[in-house]
């Protein structure tokens, strides 16, 4: 009946409970995410300030460079820090992030081992301010924060880069989650469309249930050969807590929380997203639509963040 083998019928997709882009935009985002709340998550400085108010763990902020003339003062801001991260406050998908592993005697060493002089770092910050990495090219500010020492728990699972956990939170309930692992192809970045591996996680346990690379199910990491099905995120409840608290923090009914696991400080919120993508469904191997429906119909209302996480851990 269906002429193209690569395509499936919409009926089958609906039966599988898949949430499409149009449905996400119309039924979910436009209903539960007020436009006025977007700046809270689009601006990382604001997100961080809000998170600190309610004790959500985030990488500590070292400073902010807001104006071009302040760039020269950059050295005084990072004084006493031997490692830090510079990122655009309005960046997305890890664009414009500069990770300095070692800073000593006016020489900066990046995560990949490249050695930069002050002039080059200056140029980079200057680019951030001029809006090179922000959406629509509007003026931006550069955020300087502490480096995350990510946990050894995922050492074999990621080819360079920082593996992070993405939790989709719907009406305060963590609804779906995945871990994103960098590959050689993705060049250390954790975006699925750039070739990163997505691993769907069980909402109760934080254990891997499915893994995909370029929309194709896999079970072994293409570069490190690690068995992805053995992946287990430690401190799972704490991960979910960050997601659940982000709901109260921002008021966004549908959001994506990107969380990294620090060796010493535990799970930390890296950034929030008011328009999280739908690739997470492929990573998990099932649709988001049914999950959202279940939350709408069955999950209790007016619970605290902690109670919601408990509910998900027991019933999810």
């Amino acid at each position: 009946m269906w002429p193209f083998d690569a395509f499936v019928s919409p009926k089958k997709l609906r039966a599988a409970g898949v949430l499409g882009m149009n449905a996400r935009n119309y039924k979910v985002i436009s209903h539960f995410n007020k436009r006025s709340l977007y700046p809270l998550v689009d601006d990382k400085v604001q997100t961080k300030t809000l998170a600190n108010k309610i004790d959500i763990n985030t990488p500590k902020m070292i400073g902010v460079v807001e104006h071009q003339y302040e760039v020269t003062d950059f050295l005084s801001i990072v004084k006493g820090h031997s490692e830090f991260v510079v990122k655009p406050a309005h960046g997305s998908q890890g664009k414009g992030v500069l990770v300095i592993k070692k800073y000593a005697d006016g020489v900066f060493t990046t995560a990949s081992g490249k050695v930069l002089k002050f002039k080059e770092v200056y140029q980079h910050i200057s680019n951030i301010l001029s809006g090179l990495y922000s959406l629509g090219g509007q003026y931006d500010v550069a955020l300087i924060e502490e480096l995350v020492h990510f946990s050894d728990a995922f050492q074999n699972f990621s080819y360079q880069g920082i593996p992070d956990v993405r939790v989709i939170v719907y009406k305060g309930y963590p609804a779906m989650s995945m871990m994103r692992l960098a590959t050689k192809e993705s060049e250390g970045r954790a975006n699925l469309h750039q070739g990163a591996v997505g691993v769907g996680l069980d909402m109760r346990t934080g254990r891997a249930i499915n893994a995909v690379s370029h929309n194709v199910p896999i079970s072994i990491h293409p570069d490190t050969q690690a068995d992805l099905m053995t992946l287990q995120v430690p401190l799972w409840k704490e991960h979910l807590m960050i997601g659940a608290q982000a709901y109260e923090m921002t008021g966004l009914g549908y959001l994506g929380a990107d969380i990294v696991l620090d060796k010493e400080r535990g799970p930390m919120m890296l950034e929030l997203n008011a328009r999280p993508g739908l690739a997470i469904q492929i990573a998990n191997g099932f649709g988001l639509r049914d999950v959202l429906k279940k939350i709408d119909k069955k999950y209790p209302k007016n619970l605290s963040a902690e109670e919601r996480v408990e509910y998900v851990l027991n019933n999810g």
């Binding site: 499936v8 149009n22 199910p217």
Partner: protein
């Protein structure tokens, strides 16, 4: 009740209203303004010149000419009399033009000119309950009576519905019966034929008369009026062709005089005659719309774009195609799910293609993008700030266009000359975006984006460059309401996109 008035239902309701409105408006435009779905529809406009010639006798002159009546048969574009020194007066009731003057000497030439269009088929029958009195002719001799009776007998064998038709056919046979041949004179002018037929019919007490008019045929010059026969049958005057017996007023026959009145009356003149010339001209149907509207007393027309000066009309004609292009973009993005560089970029490129022509435009555009990307790659190494960098790309695009045009001219390579039609800023942004995508997501993704954008641009081009579609969207611009509501309704479309059927295919578990 609350569920009934959802956004989607309300929009559907409005859409239905818009469709009904558009259908009505379209019907109105076709029926009353003569609009057509075909883009190059032409209307024939016929100019009939009646040239009146006479020699004055030295008395005050009064000339009167019977003119075409305004009916359903055709519409009159203009009516004009060229008669220097004459007082011209029109009797609208009796359709007669009067021209009077004091006594004159020289031979007089008066011109009456009428322009007609939209001549239509009509029955050509006139109801008249006052049965005409008819005098049966007295035969000169028995021989004549015998001949007439023989002709009537012969006419019984001819195919035809009425007596008049049979008689006319009999008199116009290729090989005439001996009786008929003897009855008719050697010189068979239309006038003589008409007289003979009227005579024969009067024998059977059937009233008949001649009507004068003009056949709308090209290359007709200074000819006398054409004749047709009108026969009183069943309390109606019916028109017959003198030579074929065919009943009904032909579409291309304009009646100047019918009934008891004369075609031309000249008081104070002699040797008067009237000669008719016919010229056909072709005018775009569209330009006649205003005239038609005036004819129908349709004031609405003044408030449409068709009543604007040509320049404004052309600008609007160009704009009227946009909503359809926008609908296409919405379909491509939200229903098919093709991601392009910038929402309306493909449409803007398609618009340029319309101006440059398809293949020259595409080749030229490809060249600009290719050169632009090369230069942009070089700019990357300079690490310029965003605004100066994109500005530099804009200037480079202008320079590339300039060189293409110059070289195109020098080497007589016409394709290159179309370079200037591409929107500079948009082109620069395409280059910028392509370059950034290239750096961040690899050459594969960048190429995919460019190819997607081109595909959407080409599809949009095919739609908006179509003469037929452009004409329809302009002539029946009310359909833009329908497009508007369709676009809004698509804003509530929550189904899957076509590309998602492939993207999410792994989620469908095969049993």
């Amino acid at each position: 009740m609350k569920r009934f008035f959802t956004v989607r239902h309300t929009l559907c309701l409005f859409l239905l209203a818009a469709i009904i409105f558009s259908c009505v408006a379209t019907y109105y435009k076709i029926a009353y303004w003569g609009f057509s779905f075909r883009p190059h529809e032409k209307t024939d406009v016929w100019t009939i010149d009646a040239h009146i010639i006479f020699e004055p006798t030295g008395e005050p002159i009064e000339v009167s000419l019977s003119t075409p009546r305004i009916g359903n048969e055709y519409k009159i574009l203009s009516e004009d009399v060229i008669a220097a020194g004459y007082d011209v007066r029109k009797d609208d009731k009796n359709y007669r033009m009067f021209m009077s003057s004091k006594a004159l000497r020289k031979k007089q030439n008066i011109y009456y000119r009428i322009m007609l269009y939209d001549n239509e088929d009509t029955a050509g029958k006139i109801r008249d309950d006052r049965a005409p009195t008819i005098q049966k002719p007295v035969f000169e001799n028995e021989q004549q009576e015998g001949m007439v009776n023989a002709i009537w007998e012969l006419s019984e064998k001819i195919d035809g519905e009425t007596k008049a038709e049979r008689i006319i056919k009999l008199l116009n046979q290729d090989v005439l019966e001996p009786e008929v041949d003897a009855f008719l004179p050697v010189r068979k002018t239309p006038k003589i034929m008409a007289e003979k037929i009227i005579y024969l019919l009067s024998v059977k007490k059937i009233a008949a008369r001649v009507i004068r008019g003009v056949y709308l045929k090209e290359k007709r010059h200074a000819a006398s009026a054409d004749l047709m026969l009108e026969v009183y049958e069943g309390s109606k005057w019916k028109v017959y062709n003198i030579f074929t017996g065919e009943e009904g007023l032909p579409k291309n026959f304009v009646v100047f005089q019918r009934g008891g009145v004369s075609l031309l009356d000249v008081a104070g003149g002699r040797n008067s005659q009237v000669k008719f010339s016919v010229i056909k001209s072709v005018i775009s149907s569209f330009k006649m719309a205003g005239r038609r509207a005036k004819y129908e007393n349709s004031r609405l027309f003044n408030y449409t774009i068709y009543n604007l000066p040509m320049h404004e009309q052309n600008t609007l004609k160009w704009l009227m195609i946009f909503p359809l292009g926008i609908l296409l973009v919405v379909l491509m993005r939200n229903v098919i799910g093709i991601s392009t560089m910038g929402t309306f970029t493909p449409m803007l490129v398609a618009m340029s293609l319309v101006k440059t022509g398809f293949f020259p435009g595409l080749i030229c555009f490809g060249l600009i993008i290719a050169f632009g990307l090369l230069i942009r790659t070089w700019l990357t190494r300079l690490n310029l700030l965003l605004v100066p960098r994109i500005s530099a790309v804009v200037i480079f695009v202008i320079l590339i266009m300039q060189f293409l045009t110059i070289f195109g001219y020098q080497f007589d390579f016409k394709i290159a000359a179309s370079a200037v039609f591409f929107p500079i800023i948009i082109t620069a942004w395409i280059i910028e975006r392509a370059c950034i995508t290239w750096e961040e997501d690899g050459a594969k993704n960048a190429t995919k984006q460019i190819v997607n954008t081109s595909i959407v641009a080409v599809v949009t081009y095919l739609v908006i460059s179509n003469d037929y579609i452009r004409h329809v969207m302009f002539a029946f611009n009310e359909w833009n309401f329908v497009i508007l509501l369709l676009v809004m309704l698509l804003g509530t479309y929550t189904g899957y996109r076509l590309t998602e059927l492939k993207r999410f295919a792994p989620l469908v578990k095969e049993k």
